[in-house]
Amino acid sequence: MKTSRLLVLALVWSFWSCQDENLLPESPVEVVPETFIPELSSSLQVGDFPQPERNPLSKEGVKLGKRLFFDPKLSANGKISCASCHLPSKAFTDGVALSKKGVSGNALHRHSSPLFNLAWHTTGLFWDGGANDLESLNFGPLTHPDEMAADLEEIVAYLIQDKTYPELFAQAFPKNPIQSATISRALSQYTRTLISQTSKYDDWKRGEATLNSLELQGYQLYQNHCSSCHQEGLFTDLDYHNNGLDLIYPDPPALEGLFLGRFRISFDSLDLGAYKTPSLRNVTLTAPYMHDGRFESLEEVLDHYQSGIQVNYSLAPQLKEGINLSPDERKALLSFLKTLQDDAFVLSHIQDSEK
């Protein structure tokens, strides 16, 4: 009797002694975020919707990301949000050449990029492609002293004590605490859903609208002169070219090669002064133009292509002779470019931002 009791005790002890790490309480039933893939128009001419495996789109993630995008409290002075420089009404650019909206009030060195169809920018983000993905990019504007100047730890502290955010984070990222990685992932999910594919051009491509003869003539001119870089579909080849803006490139050490273009990232001399081809979608909304916003109108851009090309070693070869267009041809080309303006996209995001 006594020994069998001892046996029981020994049995109990032998199980218990080595298993205490496994006795953690079961976590409550996990909410699984509802993942989705946006619907895509054939006129985008893209195969699929690329996104990093570690951060698939979910309804909850996008909702959280949108709130973060429009929240000025993320910035050091509580006044600047992503939307201060990326306005829905301007296809998410800001209408000025070099923004001074940042916390320091200093002018930035580059023009605010419009934000749409970013999922396909898998060859790099920023004008020079320095950012590999949206997830990595977001820390730039969040922390740069001339942008939101935030301390990432302070952002986390603000979000944790907020009334609404903890719940939104728990729904979007049930397995992670609130941390810089999840903040950036949510922002990326939102910006990846900014898809411009409902312009007149898109309707025309799908056979749901017609272009008039002027627009059609413009389309021809576009195909002949512009489509090698501003490739149809996304209207960018997502590659880097020197389109002849400058002959030489200053290189003050403190700016870490900022004026060298893609060379700053690739260290390839053929990339000196090269920048990522911007999309021509919504181009009627995104003035001023080029990486430094130097041209105020599309007329000026066409003047540049016609007579302003600076020929140097890295110039894109197809631009050596310039692009000569008669006044009538210009008119036609501009009327085609107007068909790329996506009012439905802009309107829906203005409304969405007010919700």
Partner: protein, 239 residues
Amino acid sequence: MKNIAYLFLAFVLIFSSCSEEEIPAQMTVELNFENTLNGKPLQLNSETFTLPSGEPFIAKKLKYYISNVVLTDTQSGAIYNVPNSYHLLGEDFKSTVELGMIPSANYDQITFSIGVDAEANAKTDQTGDLDPNNDMAWNWNSGYKFVVLEGEFTHKTTGERTGLVLHIGRNQNYKTVTQSLTGIRAGRAAQIQLKTVVDQLFLSPNALNASELPSTTIMGGELADKIGENYANGFITIE
């Protein structure tokens, strides 16, 4: 007789439940880094140092990543790859890496890399020592600074205090180092002492003369890669 059998069983159960050998199956290992310049412990904001090229130098910041630490027992062939091994170290910052409990062995070799590997260097939405709030992620070029040294030196020709900024990163400057270890016994807590020799950033194979640098802000390009070659050997050594 039956009772004795029960008793025996009870003993067996008690002892087998956590089988214990002479040498514990696990041991703790800790890496300790000491940063030095001119053969003495580095101090930030101190006026008592010089650069290898002779200029008086005040260091303001020193931070660096080591990653992918591997311990090897070359006799038995036992290899321990530290999981998720990214460690940010620096002066007036962390100087110890605790590997925690690891399988016991007579480790006689350590391998680690200076910087972070290409995969980890391709994105910055990461946590722990790779969290971008550590001020080591570039914000215009996805990836990490591997070695950061900032300070001021007195320029030989102008006599002026001149800022020196080294931000060395990029995949080609990820350098792997293997060193022998002595005195580590399986099952016993081990402390590995490492010395980080700041001088070596300027010494060999590429001797750099601070007052003759084309730019004293080095964040990429040829000069950065030369410093990368310099830190590949003799920058972090076993004491």
